[in-house]
Symmetry: C2
Subunit: 216 residues, 2 copies
């Protein structure tokens, strides 16, 4: 018996709820790591994992030796939450201080993909994490593909909450001397560092350059 | 009946497991947002939330109007997962490519703090998110404190997984032409932006300067 997913409508702060599917997709395509929630022996378990989206599907990958992925592969109810922390909202009181963020919650079941769907999904994941990289390296071998497990979840029940405002101080505080504003936050990439076993003179490839430039 | 938490020992990749409590504390003190997992009507629910640590306790805060916090306040089994994404590990094959990360999973139950413990915990949370800010603004009013709900979880069952290595390519790939290395990733702060209702000439306070400098 499949439990019903929790309601996806916010009870509080409804003004933060965003119904726009393209805003959901943009967040899912930007953030590299999701937090996946499962129920294990009645207890919640939350694990971070790389993921990617293709249309209405979300893909997670791992080793065929991954215990939680094997356990979840047969249709486990799951919650996939994807969060971008965009800033600290610094109000004139600590009570009104908060955060700017975008957070998507997707409810569904996880299912293991068969070999051909799995191989396509692995390309989708690679192309999200480091676009252009597949064209710079050899193709995966059939053995590597077989050692990889890919789970998929259909995007059907979801909610998106976006907090992008300014401090909302009471009048008394606005008249006071304290500063108020926002400290922007983002995921930034540093300069790429060659591996210890890299031969001298091997240039940093364009996939890596593009990734770093987009997050410099 | 309290379900037993899932095992906190890694079945795979045991070399990534870190037993050092100080490494756990450092991660919990560095990362601003946790992903909290709950079981709601048999279904997993994962929500992002600000949090802070004080000794062996973790604190979450929210509005007394928060449905999930009220529901969880009476001892709900919970999983609090805290992740820092430290880099992309770019191997000479997509199969060996991975991520650098630190990820803590803490299992326990959430309990609502009473008024005096709540007020102390709110200071702990503020002092983590923006150290020094409390000294720059007025104290919270009793009414503000009453409108805030703080949940606590004792750190007892936890695991910490750290991936901080280099690409581990097979010999054939190492002899090939492809680049390999790491792209460092971190949470970076941008220049603070004053609120639209901020009077001209109010200087950026030292708490904000220090926060930005630590993440520049």
């Amino acid at each position: 018996m499949q439990p019903e997913p929790p309601h996806t409508r916010l009870r509080r702060l409804r003004r933060k709820q965003v119904e726009d599917r393209s805003a959901l997709d943009a967040l899912l395509d930007e953030v590299l790591v999701a937090h996946v929630g499962l129920v294990v022996d009645g207890h919640p378990l939350v694990l971070p994992t790389a993921f990617a989206r293709d249309g209405d599907q979300l893909f997670l990958h791992g080793s065929t030796g991954s215990g939680w992925m094997r356990a979840a592969a047969a249709g486990a109810p799951a919650c996939l939450t994807v969060t971008a922390l965009d800033g600290l909202v610094v109000a004139r009181s600590t009570f009104e201080s908060s955060m700017r963020y975008r957070s998507a919650v997707v409810f569904g079941v996880l299912r293991r993909l068969d070999a051909s769907a799995r191989n396509l999904a692995l390309d989708v994941i690679t192309d999200k994490l480091l676009p252009g990289r597949r064209e710079e390296v050899r193709a995966s071998t059939a053995q590597e593909q077989r050692r990889t497990l890919v789970l998929a979840m259909v995007i059907e029940h979801w909610s998106l909450k976006v907090s992008d405002g300014w401090p909302d101080d009471v009048e008394e505080d606005r008249a006071g001397p304290a500063w108020a504003g926002v400290i922007p936050l983002r995921t930034a990439a540093g300069s790429p560092v060659g591996a210890p076993d890299l031969e001298e003179g091997v240039p940093v490839p364009s996939s890596v350059h593009a990734f770093v430039e987009a997050r410099a």
